[in-house]
Each structure stands twice: as structure tokens, then as C-alpha cells.
Amino acid sequence: MKMRTPLKNVRHLGSAHEGADHFILQRLTAVANVVLGIFLVWLVAKLAGADYAAAKALLRNPLVALGLLLLILSGMIHMRLGMQTIIEDYIHGEGAKLAALALNTFFAILVGVASVFAILKLSFGA
């Protein structure tokens, strides 16, 4: 007897409930990160040794803020997926693995949201 619903067959996701999402998202963010990473190097070089007023003026520039926001979004997704792979490869205890995976997600979200908050505060704050 077939236990799968027709929808299950169409989705082809199996018992893990996901398909190639991890692989594809890792590559997609990798491509974005090449462009955004070069942008970050440019930005840091431009700001190296700059005083506060100059740094703030540049970070408030809408295009710079947009680039940084995109970098943080793409970077956090990419690094969370990468660290997930490392954890799954090296941590074998089920409890420790679950804890590490949860911490991984918390870390990525914390760093990401803190950075986004700082950028928005620079852009919109006094």
C-alpha cells in the first residue's frame, strides 16, 4: 500500500523535509558574497584611518547602507549553512549536535540583527 500522498510525490522532499535547498542557497549566497565581499574590502579601505564624521557620512550613504544590509543578509545565511555543515561533520553526540546547531542559528541572527540595527541607526538616527 502506498503511504505517500500525491503532494508528497510531487515535492520529492523525502523524510528530511528538504531537498537541495541547503546546497542551492549556499551557492546562491556565495555568488552574492563575492560581489558584496569586494564591496566590504573597498568600504573598509576607504574608511581606514577616517575620523568619526567622515566614517558616519559614508556609512549613512544610502548605497553604502544598502550594500552593507545585503552583505549582512547574504553573509549570515551563508555562514550559518557553512557552520551547520561543520557541526554535522564533527559533532556526533545527538544532544551536543542539537545544541550546537541551535547556537549556530542564534549566533547568526544575533550578529546579523545587531549589525542591521547599527546600520539603520546610522541611516535614520540623529
Binding site: 551557492r27 556565495a30 555568488v31 558574497n33 563575492v34 565581499g37 566590504l40 574590502v41 579601505a45 581606514a48 584611518g49 568619526y52 564624521a53 566614517a55 558616519k56 556609512l59 552593507l68 553573509g75 549570515m76 555562514m79 557553512g82 557552520m83 561543520i86 549566533f107 550578529v111 545587531a114 549589525s115 540595527f117 547599527a118 546600520i119 541607526k121 546610522l122 538616527g125
Partner: protein
């Protein structure tokens, strides 16, 4: 899975498949490990980016304080390392994207790509820090 954990099975010294230590280290093996290590370093290094942005959003006094830390000798060494890790992971990642298309798998090409990534990442890091950073690597050497 339950039977694998029984006491009887635990005592058996099972043969293990050959692992990393039986192979002569090859450059692409080393590159694979460096790709992971630079990835992990970049992961934790994002704290620096978040810290720096937060400092800029906080105010001049705290921004100058953090800038001084980043500008110190130790700070610059860390940032140079971060630059190299970023470039190495980026170039290594481009190599992986090439492999994803099914190209670049003959052994000579793999070696060339590996060495090319290492050399290019070091050269680019040096170029950025010598030319773009006021008081950067140039100041460390001078």
C-alpha cells in the same frame, strides 16, 4: 540503531576504514581544510564587523576607542588575517563554483587551481594592505 549500542557490540574492536593520516598530504586536501578554517574564522570574525558598526552608531568617543583597538599592532595583524581569510575563502569558493559546473577536475588543473588560490590570496592581501590602508602593512614593515 539499538543493537549497535548493546554491550556485546561495544567490546568488539571493529576495523576502521583508512582515514586522513594514511595519505601523503596533497595540496587540494590542504586547501579543503583551509577553506573550512577560513570559513570558521570569517564566521567568528563577523563579531568584529558588528562591533565596528555598533561603535559607529554609538558615537564619536566609542568609535574612536574601537578604531584605536583596530589600529593597534595586534588589531592590524587580526585585520590582515581577516582580509586574507576573506580573499582565500572567496577565491577558493570561486574554484568550487567552477567545479559545480563539472569543469576543472583533471589532476593538473586541481593542483594549479589550489596553488593559484593560495598565491593570489596572499598577493591580493599584500596589495590591499600596502596600497589602500593608511598606516597599514606598509607602516608595519617600515
Amino acid at each position: 540503531m539499538a543493537e549497535a549500542k548493546s554491550e556485546r557490540n561495544l567490546r568488539i574492536e571493529r576495523p576502521l576504514s583508512p582515514h586522513l593520516q594514511v595519505y601523503r598530504p596533497l595540496i587540494n586536501m590542504t586547501m579543503s581544510i583551509i577553506h573550512r578554517m577560513t570559513g570558521a574564522a570569517l564566521y567568528f570574525g563577523t563579531i568584529l564587523l558588528a562591533w565596528w558598526l555598533t561603535a559607529a552608531a554609538t558615537g564619536p568617543a566609542y568609535f574612536n576607542y574601537v578604531s584605536d583597538i583596530f589600529g593597534s599592532l595586534l588589531g592590524r595583524v587580526v585585520l590582515i588575517g581577516y582580509t586574507w581569510a576573506l580573499l582565500h575563502h572567496m577565491i577558493g569558493g570561486l574554484r568550487h563554483l567552477l567545479w559545480d559546473t563539472g569543469r576543472g577536475y583533471d589532476l593538473k588543473m586541481i593542483d594549479r587551481l589550489s596553488w593559484g588560490s593560495i598565491i593570489l590570496s596572499v598577493l591580493l592581501t599584500g596589495a590591499i594592505w600596502f596600497t589602500q590602508m593608511p598606516g597599514g602593512l606598509g607602516a608595519l614593515v617600515r
